[in-house]
């Protein structure tokens, strides 16, 4: 009987011939990531547990991104605690203002295909884009990994997602993953592995795959995996794929708890509507529904209906979901030669320092700035909802990030629509959902 991708990664990790869904195993951790919000809590737990040294400081990465730049008086305290922790335990992999943790973990080469990684953040699932197992944990489990280098996991069942064909013009991997989340619902993959395959994902850039892996946690998944290929090898700076990495795909006769088959040509631009990530509607439907609503009214969980459309107050392009160069380029292709609508704010937050510099070099940021975008320093920005464009009652934001939870970007009456960078940029120009 064959194995799923996740079963192969775990078997390799523990040196077993095979493992099967449902097995409880103890894995050897290749890499851990801790970010600035949780480092004080990790440190406390680590010391409370009685550890005096980290099992392998070089496998530990600390990234400041949620509190960069500091917006509240207590924020710098987290950075001081982090700095002290690194000095005390010999952690050298520290990024203080280089971008979002999930972007940096693969971009800076910390996570490679086949690795097993954990992070104190739910979007740690992102590294599945290169064929690594990675998932979010709390600070107590992180502290125990720091001391032992190990963690128990239950080998998850797998939902296989096959996508074949060519995506229509203007439809991105964001539309694909949002559609899948809408189909599976917010808890549809709880405790499961999502395994993506097919000619459509083969044709995707690693960046596009990253968007999809990143959002798998929004349907409850433990991980969201892609098979490594030549593009992965190039992105990760590998000379090629060895036998193990070449074997990292789900076998024909592997056992899947569910198989979803999609035709790429069927995908359309979609949005996650306020305030659930799985409240997915085609943009065209959102527009039609708005046209049927009362002119001038403020509709709860929709926004202000003006001129038959949903008025957009702000657009956010950024985050570990959609803050990469190709996302900024996609927005720039819409915004080139245009200006955002009056009274609309467009906030662009590149996901990393490297992306910022690449987008400077190729003219993307100039196009965006000329169109009226505010370009902020790389970091989590508005996505984590502490600063970076907080909104108030009845306002509408179209955002490229991963969550539209109630109150995530301000008051509980803020209406957050999640969409692709293409859709978001179009909305910024129009000043309404288009």
């Amino acid at each position: 009987m064959g194995s799923t991708l996740i079963e192969k990664i775990f078997a390799h990790n523990i040196g077993a011939d095979s493992v099967k869904a449902g097995d409880i195993i103890t894995v050897n951790v290749d890499r851990v990531m801790i970010h600035d919000i949780f480092i004080p809590f990790v440190k406390d737990k680590f010391e409370e547990m009685g550890f005096t040294k980290i099992w392998d400081p070089d496998r530990t990465v600390l990234i400041y991104d949620h509190l960069v730049p500091a917006s509240q008086l207590d924020d710098p305290r987290h950075h001081h605690i982090g700095d002290d922790f690194c000095d005390k335990y010999g952690v050298k992999n520290v990024h203080r203002s280089d971008g979002i943790c999930h972007q940096l973990m693969t971009e800076a080469g910390y996570v490679k295909p086949g690795d097993v990684a954990f992070g104190t953040d739910s979007h740690t699932v992102t590294y599945g884009c290169v064929g690594a197992f990675s998932t979010g944990i709390g600070y107590t489990e992180m502290a125990s990994i720091l001391g032992t280098g190990k963690l128990w996991v239950r080998v998850p069942e797998t939902i296989r997602v096959n996508i074949n064909g060519t995506l229509p013009e203007g439809v991105t991997s964001k539309d694909v993953i949002l559609t899948i989340i809408g189909d599976l619902r917010a808890d549809g993959a709880t405790y499961k592995s999502l395994e993506f395959a097919g000619s459509t994902v083969d044709a995707m850039s690693v960046a596009s795959r990253m968007t999809m892996s990143n959002m798998t946690v929004e349907c409850g998944a433990k991980c969201g995996l892609f098979s490594p290929d030549a593009k992965t090898a190039e992105y990760c700076g590998l000379k090629g794929l060895d036998d193990f990495l070449t074997s990292l795909h789900g076998d024909e006769d592997a056992v899947y708890s569910k198989v979803l088959n999609y035709r790429a040509e069927d995908f359309v631009p979609v949005m996650a509507c306020p305030s659930q990530v799985d409240k997915i509607k085609p943009v065209s439907q959102v527009i039609l529904e708005a046209a049927a609503m009362e002119e001038g009214s403020v509709v709860p969980s929709v926004g202000l209906i003006k001129d038959g459309s949903i008025r957009v107050d702000q657009v956010f392009i950024g985050s570990c979901t959609n803050g990469r160069l190709e996302d900024l380029q996609a927005a720039a292709s819409v915004l080139k030669g245009r200006h955002i609508a009056p009274f609309v704010k467009l906030i662009v937050t590149p996901a990393s320092r490297k992306i910022y510099r690449d987008a400077l070099a190729d003219g993307t940021l100039d196009i965006l700035a000329q169109a009226g975008a505010m370009i902020t320093t790389p970091g989590c920005g508005l996505c984590c909802g502490r600063t970076g464009g907080i909104l108030t009652d009845n306002e509408v934001v179209v955002a490229t990030n991963n969550r539209n939870f109630l109150g995530r970007m301000g008051t509980s009456k803020v209406n957050i629509y999640l969409a692709s960078p293409v859709t978001a940029a179009k909305c910024a120009v129009a000043g309404k959902i288009v």
């Binding site: 500091a70 070099a361 505010m374």
Partner: protein, 416 residues
């Protein structure tokens, strides 16, 4: 008897041939600038008036710059109030375009105007030969509704500048030195007028920096004569024409005249917690810093970024030090982008923020924690200005800030 520039501008605004220091006159205002620090309060008062109306909406310029992007639901609500009011009433409105005074200089102010701004650093407009002064919400509201106000004509302190600033000594070192010399209340209710041969060696950026900071000596306004440099700036920024170009008459009355040789100025810093708590850089050398800030209406222009970039190029920001670079406007941002300055800062490890007041305002972006030290090109170093009440702000020039960011401690701008 002749008049000073301040007197001439007020006479023009009052529609009278001559005014004298100490008189109170009713004037017509040319612009009323307001930002997100207080506009929501003005709107609340406006809405309480019986049948309120705006005298001349073309005079109003509203700019969201203090908390951009917005940092809290409370701020978002006050900014929304401002945005909605501007939209409903056809008021010129900017958001995310940069710091209000920089926007005003780039797009609106012309020589000879009398301008009220609901922000203390409105005196910056003197660089363009305009009388700008900061007012509170009540004064602003009166101007908004009537188009005019009353002003007391200020006495003038005259600063006669000669010579040229040394390399890496900036206009900011000059104005900090002057504030240190006359004290934080040394120009209370006065106009500070800058003239002399030395002016030709000062760029518009230098001039805005000088005038902008005069309020830190208590000045009501700051003023400069219009010259070719001013006219070239206006031409390059929308081809604006002066309303009137004034010079003080030879027989005008000045309360006091100071002669300053620009070549005598050295790099200085203002130590916590007062702008006039001045020391030569060398005296505070070695003070460890947590954060450095290059930006603000005082020092966030292209010239400042060029200076900072020329120093940090090829170096890295010190380990554990945060270096915020915040262009004063979108125009500055894009110019710096095209000149490759943004990449120099990014390569060095700085954080570049969107144009806004940033940590100079100190409420949301780059705030410093308890016990932390900031070296800043911002306008003020009051206790708690940049964050925690138990933090410390040193004010220095773009050169001093950039050099200190590399060193991780306050150092002379000549270190690198």
């Amino acid at each position: 008897m002749g008049m000073t520039i301040a007197e001439k501008i007020i006479a023009r605004a009052a529609g009278v041939p001559a005014v004298r220091a100490g008189e109170i006159h009713t004037v017509t205002l040319d612009y009323l600038m307001s930002n997100d620090g207080t506009t929501h309060l003005t709107i609340d008062m406006y809405n309480k008036l019986r049948n309120p109306r705006i005298a001349d909406k073309s005079k109003l310029v509203w700019i969201v710059d203090h908390n951009v992007p917005c940092d809290s639901p409370k701020t978002a609500a006050s900014q929304k109030k401002m945005r909605d009011f501007a939209r409903d009433n056809g008021i010129t409105f900017y958001e995310g375009e940069g710091v209000c005074h920089q926007i005003m200089c780039e797009k609106h102010v012309v020589p000879g105007q009398l301008i009220f701004g609901a922000d203390s650093h409105t005196c910056a407009y003197g660089a363009l030969g305009a009388f700008g002064t900061g007012v509170g919400c009540t004064d602003y509201l009166y101007g908004m509704v009537t188009g005019g106000s009353w002003v007391m004509v200020p006495e003038t302190l005259r600063f006669n500048l000669t010579g040229k600033l040394a390399d890496r000594v900036t206009a900011r070192d000059l104005i900090l030195t002057i504030i240190g010399m006359i004290g934080a209340n040394g120009a209370n209710y006065h106009a500070m007028e800058f003239v002399g041969d030395g002016m030709k060696n000062l760029t518009m950026s230098d001039r805005i920096s000088i005038c902008n900071l005069c309020v830190e000596a208590g000045a009501k306004t700051a003023l400069m004569e219009v010259d070719d440099i001013t006219l070239a700036y206006l031409e390059a920024h929308g081809g604006r024409k002066p309303a009137a170009c004034f010079k003080s008459d030879d027989d005008a009355v000045f309360e006091k005249t100071f002669d300053i040789d620009l070549s005598s100025i050295v790099p200085v810093v203002a130590k916590p917690h007062f702008v006039d708590n001045l020391a030569p850089v060398d005296e505070v050398k070695g003070v460890k810093i947590n954060e450095a800030f290059l930006g603000s209406c005082n020092n966030g222009r292209i010239e400042d970024l060029r200076l900072g970039a020329s120093i940090i190029k090829g170096h890295k920001v010190a380990d554990k030090v945060r270096f915020l670079v915040v262009p004063a406007s979108q125009e500055v941002y894009r110019q710096a982008l095209r000149e490759g300055l943004l990449d120099i800062f990014m390569e060095a490890g700085a954080m570049i923020m969107n144009p806004n007041c940033s940590v100079c305002w100190g409420s949301c972006q780059g705030v410093i924690g308890a016990g932390e030290v900031l070296i800043s090109t911002g306008t003020r170093n009051f206790k708690g200005r940049a964050g925690d009440k138990n933090s410390f702000v040193y004010l220095g020039s773009a050169a001093t800030v950039a050099a200190s960011a590399i060193a991780g401690e306050i150092v002379s701008p000549y270190t690198y």
